[in-house]
């Protein structure tokens, strides 16, 4: 029986209250965990991965990515996106349905599952559309989408402006046991804006997107979820008012959850001053007080999990005039490094919450499998080197896209291996060349 032993790592799983130096034995045939413990005896001929000084976590999940297939394969494909996922430390991703055609029918969902299986890297779970063609006019076939394997419903990239349709979707989803996932934006108020409305947009003469345009929909959807007795998930929360609304609603027992992207925790609208389109996304980068509120929400559980909103675009598309370029930045291959460096290592975010927000809490939002290390469970594992020093070089990404807002950043901490069902993929911390000087610093 082929077996893999993860030897002597710091096994770290907040969901099972695990934090100890131990081995993990993996049955490669079934792709499951066979044992977790000290000095496990592998059967003869077992493969071994030395995890000394490494953090061995449940496989990370990124529940908000755009893999652009079908329709926009110059930006990303399911194969290139899956490669980026495992390279960035993610064993599972949830893809958004704003492809061309959109994922508003069961065969489109089946197509993504097929492509993901052919790629054979990360586990890919597609989300289906709320409305047909993402047009916001009539409900998509939610029941058939769910039967085909859609893990939730969203028109991401656009908000469903009709309150009637959102209510209907929530009621339908409740019966299906699924979550409605909303891109919260009052499009009438944001009015085609391309950045946050504030001092910077006023100075640049750019039409701004006020935080209220997000908050209005967060408030509306919380009320609609209550009306429907259903669950609502707020995507890419960015405004402090939205965090307050979710916090208050949770206190009152509302079935609401929220995610936050690393760029909304680390970057502000000041980044847009040079008209660099790698800082343009929707929702936009906001103000320091919004960043503080998002972090606070993450710490007190108002915000359940991280999600990157990995949104690949071609370099040509992103080299246009700022107002013309499409929204979005990539994140899969920098998510872990930027957050470890700027939140965990700076003692702003406990390691435990960091891992939880990428694992168990992320899985819980959409009822996905995984997110914990359990004997008998799938051998999805993310292995981190918390001290590895490296510099972000988008040329080394496995993603097809280069629209990364963290290019050139010097980081501490990276994923080194990602395991999906026991299959080992080297991650960015293992594939890049570490300069000799840094290597010696590391061994100290």
């Amino acid at each position: 029986m082929p077996t893999l032993l993860l030897k002597n790592g710091r096994v770290f799983d907040p969901s099972s209250k695990l934090d100890k130096t131990a081995d993990i034995l993996i049955d490669l045939q079934s792709g499951t965990i066979e044992g977790i413990g000290k000095n496990l005896k592998p059967p003869p001929g077992a493969e071994m991965l030395d995890c000394s000084d490494l953090l061995v976590c449940p496989g990370f999940l990124d529940i908000h990515v755009h893999f652009r297939e079908p329709g926009f394969t110059a930006k990303e494909t399911i194969a290139s996106g899956s490669a980026a996922a495992v390279h960035g430390g993610f064993s599972t991703v949830v893809t958004m349905p704003n492809t061309d055609p959109p994922l508003d029918n069961s065969s489109a969902i089946a197509y993504q599952y097929l492509k993901a299986e052919q790629a054979g890297m990360a586990r890919v779970f597609p989300m289906g559309c709320i409305t047909k063609g993402r047009a916001g006019e009539e409900l998509a076939a939610l029941g058939l989408l769910a039967r085909a394997g859609a893990v939730g419903f969203t028109d991401d990239g656009a908000c469903v402006n009709s309150s009637f349709l959102v209510r209907s979707a929530l009621e339908y989803a409740r019966a299906l046991g699924k979550v409605v996932v909303e891109h919260c934006e009052d499009h009438d108020l944001s009015n085609g804006a391309v950045m946050h409305e504030g001092k910077v947009s006023a100075a640049l003469g750019i039409n701004g997107y006020p935080s209220a345009a997000e908050e209005i929909i967060v408030a509306r959807d919380i009320r609609l979820a209550k009306l429907a007795g259903a669950r609502i998930h707020v995507q890419h929360i960015s405004a402090k008012g939205s965090v307050s609304l979710v916090r208050e609603a949770k206190k009152k027992g509302a079935k609401v959850s929220a995610e936050v992207a690393p760029h909304h925790l680390l970057l502000t609208d000041e980044c847009c001053r040079d008209f660099d389109a790698n800082y343009k996304m929707n929702p936009p980068l906001r103000e320091p007080s919004d960043l503080d509120a998002c972090l606070e929400g993450l710490l007190d559980g108002t915000i359940d999990c991280f999600a990157s909103d990995h949104a690949p675009h071609t370099t040509e598309e992103k080299s246009q005039e700022f107002v013309e370029t499409p929204n979005g930045v990539i994140g899969l291959e920098t998510n872990i490094g930027v957050l470890l460096t700027h939140l965990v290592h700076k003692n702003k975010l406990p390691l435990k919450r960091f891992v939880d927000a990428w694992t168990a809490s992320a899985a819980r939002v959409l009822d996905l499998p995984g997110g914990s290390l359990k004997v008998g469970g799938p051998a999805d594992v993310t292995i981190l080197d918390l001290d590895l020093r490296w510099q972000v070089d988008p040329a080394r990404f496995k993603s097809k896209a280069r629209n990364c807002p963290f290019a050139g950043w010097k980081l501490k901490g990276a994923p080194v291996y990602t395991l999906v069902g026991g299959k080992v993929f080297p991650a960015i911390g293992a594939t890049m060349k570490v300069p000799a000087k840094q290597k010696s610093a590391r061994s100290r």
Partner: protein, 319 residues
């Protein structure tokens, strides 16, 4: 001072000394316009390209003439009837024109930051001739030049900029330049046409009471309502606008005796400014246009690497 900039992208990033250098250089070029032979050989053999993606009469002609008076060769390009209508990107268009061997781009574009993008992708000098609602640095400079010429100074003056602030690149460039030279700047207009954070963003005052502003101002710069940018959505109608926010003779009775009236043109006559005032004694609108030529000569001259030397010294060398 030694001029070191290759581009003029905005006034926000210029120092006070750099702005004064442009104004002083413009003053020496203004004299050239009064000669019978209105030409100096400063940029002989150099090529200036007008890259205009938005309609323009004043600015494009002013730049073209400025370049010609400096003896540069000029080319002009407008987005209609060119490869842009075939879908070519800004960068591709610019690189193709650059490959013909040009030295400077004068660009007007509806997208804020388009000149900055161009500057990152070409080796040429890039002069911003208006980028969306962001900045119009040569208009700001010529307005400040006109104020300095008419009122003898800039520091300590109160300059009111009236009207459609939201959509105005002229307001933003003026505010940056005037503030750096020590003027007090008041932006005034309907609340919906003055973005909420602009006072903090530009370090200026904001008012919605035109009568109060008129009483305080040494210079009143009226802006055109930019209907082409859907400014009409932001207020109830032009009649109301003219009555509450427009500049008219009745309102000007409150003004200081020496206060001047400016407008970057084109004027919506009878909306933001009455014809009587536009053509009246206080108006310096046509002087603004004349001064624009001198300012643009100065900007091209400085940015295209001739810099530092005075016009006279340069002419001596050329002779």
């Amino acid at each position: 001072m030694a001029w070191t900039r290759k581009h003029l992208l905005d006034l926000e990033s210029l120092s006070k000394a750099e702005i004064v250098e442009i104004l002083d250089t413009a003053a020496s070029f203004k004299e050239v316009s009064g000669r019978s032979v209105k030409k100096v050989p400063a940029l002989r053999g150099r090529v200036v390209v007008n890259l205009f993606y938005e309609a323009s009469t004043r600015t494009s002609n002013s730049f073209a003439l400025a370049a010609k008076r400096l003896s540069a060769d000029t080319m002009s390009f407008s987005s209609s009837g060119s490869s842009v209508s075939k879908g070519e990107t800004l960068i591709d268009t610019a690189k193709n024109i650059e490959a013909m061997g040009v030295d400077a781009f004068v660009i007007r574009h509806s997208a804020p930051g388009a000149p900055h993008l161009l500057a990152r992708h070409t080796q040429c000098s890039v002069i911003n001739a208006g980028d969306g609602c962001h900045e119009h640095p040569t208009q700001g400079l010529l307005d400040i030049f006109t104020i300095r010429e008419k009122l003898g100074k800039v520091a300590g003056l109160t300059v009111a900029i009236l009207g459609d602030i939201r959509h105005s690149r002229v307001a933003r460039s003026n505010a940056h330049g005037l503030r750096k030279l020590g003027a007090r700047v008041i932006l005034a207009g309907p609340p919906t046409l003055v973005p909420p954070a602009i006072a903090a963003a530009l370090g200026v005052e904001v008012s919605h009471d035109i009568d109060a502003v008129v009483e305080q101002a040494d210079a009143l710069n009226c802006l055109r309502i930019q209907f082409e940018r859907k400014a009409g959505r932001f207020f109830p109608g032009v009649r109301e606008y003219a009555a509450i926010y427009g500049l008219n003779e009745d309102r000007m009775k409150r003004a200081k005796p020496g206060a001047i009236i400016m407008h970057p043109g084109p004027i919506n006559r009878g909306i933001e400014l009455t014809p009587e005032l536009a053509d009246g004694d206080r108006s310096v609108i046509l002087q603004q246009v004349s001064n624009g030529l001198a300012v643009r000569m100065a900007v091209l001259y400085l940015c295209m690497g001739v810099g530092a030397q005075s016009v006279a010294a340069r002419e001596e060398v050329e002779a």
